[in-house]
């Protein structure tokens, strides 16, 4: 028996559950032409928001007996820049078809939420609602965060479209994105999420922290100072890499 196969107690991975907010594309009827046109229009309104956005396709509202081309649907959605990751609902044969397309077959949580969605008829609610939920759970700041100011959010990611001054603090349970120089302190993964990351256009931070693990400016690699970087937590340490 080789040493690597021995169970020496050091796990090489953690397998944990996590909940994500994700877009659900809920199909109301089988009309691929209309879908193509309407989806393109939706994406045109907010191209950055939808680019590479993972999406789950809900087939719950479709007639189970009707012939349906899942491969066609997936290619339409992909063509608009989405990343289809799974389907929810639909006839049994579609589920096996989904597996063949390497899409996950998700089961919705039983209970009120599902009931509520089904009871809604032709109103434009489900898609808009999910999109709204994504927007509400994160926050975008367009003004510079000045010295002495602190921006702390309770949900999701924090995006700053300007610089963060030295002596300023920003904190979020999710990831932090700074499209400017990060000169202050940034705390990502405040709720303890080790998957949160920090991104910035110019690293001049005083301190960065993910899920409580921190690094002060003095410990930053000199070659990455003033560079565009991302910061990740891995193996109990923060890793800074150039973008």
């Amino acid at each position: 028996m080789s040493t690597s196969a021995k169970n020496d107690g050091k796990a090489v991975f953690d397998l944990k559950g996590a909940a994500f907010t994700i877009l659900v594309l809920s199909l109301r009827r089988n009309d691929m032409d209309a879908l193509t046109a309407q989806l393109a229009e939706k994406v045109r309104q907010a191209p950055d928001f939808f680019h590479h956005a993972p999406v789950v396709i809900s087939l719950r509202e479709l007639d189970e007996d009707e012939e349906f081309d899942l491969a066609m649907l997936v290619s339409i959605v992909r063509a608009q820049g989405f990343l289809p990751v799974g389907i929810i609902g639909g006839a049994e044969r579609l589920k096996s078809h989904a597996a063949a397309l390497e899409l996950a077959v998700l089961t919705a949580r039983a209970g009120g939420r599902q009931q509520a969605e089904q009871s809604e008829t032709a109103e434009d609610v489900p898609a808009a609602e999910v999109r709204q939920a994504v927007l509400e759970s994160s926050r975008i700041i367009t003004e510079p965060v000045r010295s002495g100011q602190s921006v702390v959010i309770d949900h999701g990611d924090l995006t700053i479209l300007a610089s963060v001054g030295s002596g300023a603090e920003i904190a979020a349970p999710g990831s932090i994105h700074v499209y400017g120089a990060l000169r202050g302190r940034a705390f990502a993964g405040c709720g303890g999420s080790p998957n949160a990351r920090i991104f910035c256009q110019k690293l001049e931070a005083e301190l960065v922290s993910i899920a409580g693990i921190h690094l002060v400016s003095e410990d930053f690699p000199a070659n990455l100072r003033f560079k565009a970087v991302q910061i990740r937590l891995h193996g109990g340490r923060l890793h800074i890499t150039a973008l």
Partner: protein, 270 residues
């Protein structure tokens, strides 16, 4: 429509009072009726820089406490028409500046003045807060030094969150960056932050750069705002700033090192 301008910085000693005096006189010289108020209650300085310290009878706090009328406390500048000074009290402390009191004085001044320049004390406490609270525009005075830049950043944060315009949901205070004590030669040697560095950190529009100049100290000691010395570089630079503030397109001066003359090259003089 009267405009209230606060001259502020966070850090002390960067040139707020010098700037307030020069800027107010500059506006008055352009024909605008201007009042300059010293908010540095307890550390009265503006009257010295304006050269009217011997004519102070009543002050800002007296007016707030209704011990004197505004007209009794305002000192008319002898050199410049349209320019008036409201001095600070030397004996009181900054808590004497009540929100209602300050607002009352500003409202009364608004009736007859075009510009009101508020000379803020250093720091971010009550006095500085009162000076900025009612402002429409702000001159953020910054030295090319990292601590001054950070303090200015702090002040910009307060201007964006703690002023009346913000509280009332009006357009925010218009911010102008004024770099003082700038020495292009030292920037070149890497001893000082450059205009570009500072603008990148603070990201607000640059109103002007005042070069380090001996004329500033001389002017303060003589009680003549440096803008009155039109042969000095600092005086010219303040003049440019006032013109830019009033909407003129004036090219930036004094931001590049002086070219050495052929003689100094040979003889090593300056």
């Amino acid at each position: 429509m009267t405009k209230i301008i606060v001259v502020t910085s966070g850090k002390g000693g960067v040139g707020k009072t010098t700037t307030s005096a020069a800027f107010a006189m500059g506006l008055a010289l352009e024909g605008y009726k201007t009042a300059v108020i010293d908010f540095d209650v307890g550390l009265r300085n503006l009257d010295l820089v304006m050269g009217c310290e011997r004519r102070v009878v009543y002050d800002f706090v007296n007016v707030i406490n209704k011990e004197a009328r505004l007209n009794q406390a305002l000192i008319r500048d002898k050199r410049t028409e349209n320019l008036y000074i409201l001095p600070a009290s030397q004996t009181k402390d900054k808590e004497s500046l009540t929100m209602e009191g300050v607002e009352g004085v500003l409202e009364e001044l608004k009736a007859s003045f075009d510009y009101i320049v508020c000379d803020s004390p250093a720091g971010i406490e009550h006095g500085a807060f009162m000076a900025m609270y009612f402002a429409d525009e702000a001159l953020v005075v910054t030295n090319p030094e990292i601590s001054s830049v950070r303090d200015s950043d702090r002040i910009l944060g307060l201007l964006a969150s703690k002023t009346k315009r913000v509280v009332e949901n009006r357009t925010p205070v218009k911010e102008h960056l004024l770099l003082t004590r700038y020495s292009p030669e030292r920037v070149l040697k890497g001893e000082m932050l450059s205009v570009k560095d500072i603008q990148e950190i603070l990201s607000i529009p640059l109103l002007g750069v005042i070069p380090e100049s001996e004329a500033v100290l001389t002017a303060s000691n003589q009680g003549v705002p440096v803008i009155a010395n039109s042969s000095s570089e600092a005086g010219m630079a303040y003049h440019d700033c006032v013109a830019r503030f009033l909407g003129e397109d004036v090219e930036m001066r004094f931001i590049d090192p002086k070219k050495k003359s052929i003689f100094s090259k040979f003889f090593g003089g300056n």
